[in-house]
């Protein structure tokens, strides 16, 4: 009996040892021990944040600041979590607050004033109207634009070419039945590009006209699905999913990911249907390392970081002196004249518009 129990114990112990490497305890964060002299600054951001480790390492060796990234969910979750934790923030810097959620964080004084020197290199074009708000000091901008990620209607160019059908160009085109029935969009109620498209129609058709516009889309047979992944990777004919519909609400940058082996893009963003989404960064007002936090904001605006954003996050750099990758210049140029609503108008109207949209489209 005893030897048998022993052998079982051995089996269990061996399994335990085998899996002992499989624990987070004592594993640390993969931080190098020789970098212990570096100050760690925590950067709260959304789940789509991605940057090559090399770029972070270079910054660390230049500045002695180690950036620790803390993913906080989607852009909405990030903003709202920052509001909830403003008294004792989980991070020192936040990046990825988009124009839809910016005004709430400003009203709640989540961010401390800081105007980075590089803010005049292009980000000033997207500056928020922050002057009327005198919460914590209020003597300067608190959020600086880092990238731009416009939402546009995308089309499968080959689909239209092979049918000798002229491709749609404008919002008005999309409301015509022959195009409406080809459109798939993520829901404004459950998806952020979907909401941007709704805002685009509000901006384009006005407060009084957008509901009529959506009624036409609905009657025409436009399809609404819950999220972007479903719309783009499954329903859209121009992506790898080879779905049935050649018109989809996605991003201005999406065509850059759909370039064929011959170098020509298979899809195109309709530049007259775009809605401007800007992502901002700022120093959290509750941080106890304000100096280092400012240097991280500077880093986000540095050419080294700005150059990585197209290919890592599918967004456009906010600086104007950064050249887009060649394929982007051909397939996914930055829209010239996208629609946009003022941030406070969005935060005031958003909930009501979504309710109205739901009543109209889902009711």
């Amino acid at each position: 009996m005893l030897p048998r129990r022993l052998s079982q114990l051995t089996a269990v112990t061996v399994t335990g040892l085998f899996t002992a490497g499989c624990t987070l305890i004592g594993g640390g964060d993969g931080g190098d021990d020789d970098a212990s002299s570096a100050t760690t600054v925590t950067l709260a951001t959304h789940d789509s944040f991605a940057v090559p480790q090399r770029v972070l390492d270079d910054f660390e060796s230049r500045s002695g600041i180690r950036v620790e990234v803390l993913n906080q969910g989607d852009a909405g979750a990030l903003a709202n979590k920052l509001v909830l934790t403003k008294a004792n923030p989980v991070a020192d810097v936040a990046y990825g607050i988009d124009s839809t959620f910016a005004s709430r964080t400003l009203a709640e004084n989540v961010f401390a004033p800081y105007a980075p020197p590089a803010a005049t290199e292009g980000p000033q074009r997207y500056a928020l109207d922050d002057a009327g708000d005198h919460g914590s000091g209020g003597d300067g901008a608190r959020l600086t634009a880092v990238d731009v990620g416009d939402v546009c209607v995308n089309i499968d160019t080959e689909w239209f070419a092979s049918r000798d059908m002229p491709a749609p160009r404008t919002f008005a085109d999309l409301a015509r039945p022959q195009y409406s029935e080809l459109l798939v969009t993520p829901s404004p109620a459950t998806s952020s590009p979907g909401l941007a498209f709704l805002l685009a129609t509000v901006a384009d058709r006005g407060e009084d006209g957008w509901q009529d516009y959506w009624r036409k889309l609905k009657e025409g047979g436009a399809q609404v699905v819950s999220g972007w992944s479903e719309a783009y990777t499954q329903e859209f004919s121009g992506s790898s999913g080879n779905g049935p519909r050649p018109i989809v609400v996605s991003y201005a940058s999406s065509p850059a990911a759909e370039i064929g082996d011959d170098g020509t893009p298979r899809t195109e963003a309709l530049l007259e249907t775009c809605y401007r989404q800007v992502e901002y960064a700022g120093v959290l007002s509750g941080t106890d390392r304000p100096d280092e936090a400012r240097r991280v904001v500077d880093f986000l605006l540095s050419p080294e970081f700005q150059r990585t954003v197209p290919e890592n996050m599918y967004v456009y750099p906010a600086r104007s002196d950064i050249e887009l990758p060649g394929s982007w210049q051909r397939a996914a140029p930055l829209p010239d004249d996208p629609a946009q609503l003022p941030a406070d108008e969005v935060s005031e109207g958003r909930e009501q518009w979504i309710e109205q949209w739901r009543a109209l489209y889902e009711g």
């Binding site: 964060d29 993913n71 979590k81 459950t190 699905v225 990777t233």
Partner: protein, 554 residues
């Protein structure tokens, strides 16, 4: 031999000393056992949830939300779809449980292992697969997808108890003239009731908080309390509205648990347990129909899984392993780690979560057994309350808990909010109730006379537990560990609402990849899914086979 006699004699003399104090000592022991589970639940669940609700409960707002018809429509739809999904999962799971427990057929072991695979799949990917198979979507698809995820809970929990049931009672009924169905209904089913009720309760809670499935297959049109709490909390920061809905959710879950608890208590008794070797045999006659039904269910579960594998292998111009090759990289710059690193993160996190959950869950189960056997009404009531309370984390929105962490856990030393350990702790919160539900029915079915006999022979309480309970419960302990590990591997809900340092688990990485354009990202996402399924099957196979030596013991 001599040692046994010596032990018996020693035991007798010690047994003689067991006087009036023994009961009180046992009570104190129960409290000590329960302390850790209570602390765990208090710190990681009750405190954060109460804190976030208190932020939202402002005068008037909550009662206004409660007065809205829409709130009650949401509650009715939530409970309705959960009940329907549970019914489907139970109906589909029972034949499979029979297959696992009573049938000696080659390959039945593989079915047990395979069953766990659906459980880990990210809902977004399964949602896409179901959407591809049934483009219409709608309530029926939601119910089917929920059942798809949860058949394993029923089959494995019920199968675990069924394998230990003494077959002779059924055989006696049959020889007295009962039809197979009568024998099943009057003898087997009542004996299985505890496990059936346990698993149904778990499935119901899972389905009532199902988020991704409802969102995706409902096309945004069907809403549940869970999806609405998410929208109110995460996107609108309408904490009042979210608090009102959370209170409704909490009330509904407590009601469901009370109903389930009453049903369970009526049926519970110690069924004679046998070694599983003697209960499995080749099916005969009409049993083949049940086997056929079980295999049909398994085939049904395979359909979406095969669809995923096919998708991982298909490229724009045919077939290829591009996605699998890409696992060594990080997609088109979409991830901060490679696919393999994400897999390793998943294994580590799940390991920690399982160890934590087994410690807390087994302690809780032992305490609950002891409390259930206690003489005092108060003790039994306390036990039942603890039992229900430990189930609550399954029925309360992960968003509520996650946002609750943000406003509470900074008060603990070392700001747990940003610790890498928070993810396994939060996952353990989900796994503990499953461990309890899998272990408890078996522990309760252990004939207390065996324990008393061991105690009379002089075994100390720990030794009684080790020599009586552990061997009898070994299979369900192993099953619980395997199941817990797998749940933790696939866990996405709780994980995604926490602030995570840069160590994405596979489900998080898959979710990230699938929200990017680009063929490589999509292929990589599906390849990562296949990897997740393989890892799951591997883990389940290893743990399922580990238990074999224990089983032969009695």
């Amino acid at each position: 031999m001599d040692r046994t006699v010596a032990r018996a004699v020693r035991g007798l003399s010690r047994g003689g000393r067991r006087g009036p104090g023994a009961g009180r000592a046992r009570g104190a022991g129960v409290v000590a056992l329960a302390a850790l589970p209570i602390a765990f639940l208090g710190v990681l669940f009750a405190w954060p949830v109460v804190a976030i609700l208190r932020l939202g409960v402002t005068d008037g707002e909550v009662s206004r939300a409660l007065a809205q018809a829409q709130t009650w429509d949401l509650a009715a739809f939530t409970l309705g779809q959960a009940a329907a999904s549970t019914a489907v999962a139970v109906l589909a799971g029972m034949p499979v449980a029979f297959l696992l427990a009573r049938v000696r057929l080659r390959g039945a072991g593989w079915v047990r292992t395979f069953l766990l695979v659906p459980f880990v799949l990210p809902t977004v990917v399964v949602g896409l697969a179901f959407k591809a198979l049934w483009p219409g979507g709608g309530v029926a698809t939601i119910v089917l997808a929920n059942a798809f995820f949860n058949v394993a809970v029923v089959a494995r929990t019920v199968g675990g108890l069924w394998a230990h049931l003494d077959r002779r009672a059924e055989d006696a009924a049959r020889s007295l003239g009962a039809s197979p169905w009568q024998a099943f209904r009057t003898v087997t089913l009542p004996a299985l009731a505890p496990a059936l009720a346990s698993s149904a309760a778990v499935v119901f809670l899972f389905c009532s908080t199902s988020f991704g499935v409802v969102l995706m297959l409902g096309g945004g049109r069907y809403r549940t309390l869970e999806t609405e709490i998410y929208l109110r909390t995460v996107e609108l920061l309408d904490l009042s509205g979210a608090a009102a809905l959370s209170l409704v959710q909490l009330a509904a879950v407590v009601l469901a648990l009370v109903v389930g608890g009453v049903a369970r208590r009526r049926r519970e008794r110690a069924a004679p347990l046998r070694a599983p070797v003697t209960t499995a045999r080749r099916p005969a006659g009409r049993e083949w129909w049940v086997v056929g039904a079980a295999l049909t269910v398994v085939a049904g579960l395979l359909v979406p899984i095969l669809a995923l594998v096919v998708r991982s292998l298909s490229t724009r111009d045919g077939w290829g392993f591009d996605g699998y090759r890409a696992l060594a990289g990080s997609g088109d710059g979409a991830l901060s780690v490679t696919g393999w690193e994400a897999a390793l993160n998943s294994l580590r996190t799940a390991f920690d979560a399982t160890v934590l959950a087994m410690i807390v869950g087994v302690l809780a189960a032992v305490a609950l057994v002891a409390a259930g056997r206690a003489r005092g009404r108060a003790a039994r009531l306390a036990g039942e309350t603890l039992d229900a309370a430990l189930m609550l984390p399954l029925g309360v929105s992960a968003v509520t808990v996650g946002f609750g962490y943000l406003v509470t856990l900074d008060a603990l030393p070392g700001d747990l909010r940003t610790s890498p350990m928070l993810v396994p702790l939060a996952q353990a919160l989900v796994v503990v109730p499953l461990v309890i539900r899998m272990v408890l029915p078996v522990l309760r079915s252990v004939d207390d006379r065996l324990r008393q006999a061991a105690a009379t022979l002089g075994a100390a309480p720990v030794r009684v537990w080790w020599t009586v309970d552990v061997p009898l419960a070994a299979r369900s302990l192993a099953a619980a560990a395997a199941f817990g590990y797998v749940v933790a591997l696939g866990e996405f809900g709780a994980t995604s609402f926490l602030a995570r340092p840069e160590a994405p688990t596979l489900p998080v990485a898959i979710n990230e990849l699938i929200s990017r354009p680009g063929e490589l990202n999509t292929q990589l996402a599906y390849a990562a899914c296949t990897l997740l399924m393989l890892v799951t099957a591997g883990v389940a196979a290893v743990i399922d086979r580990l238990r074999a030596p224990h089983v032969g013991e009695f």
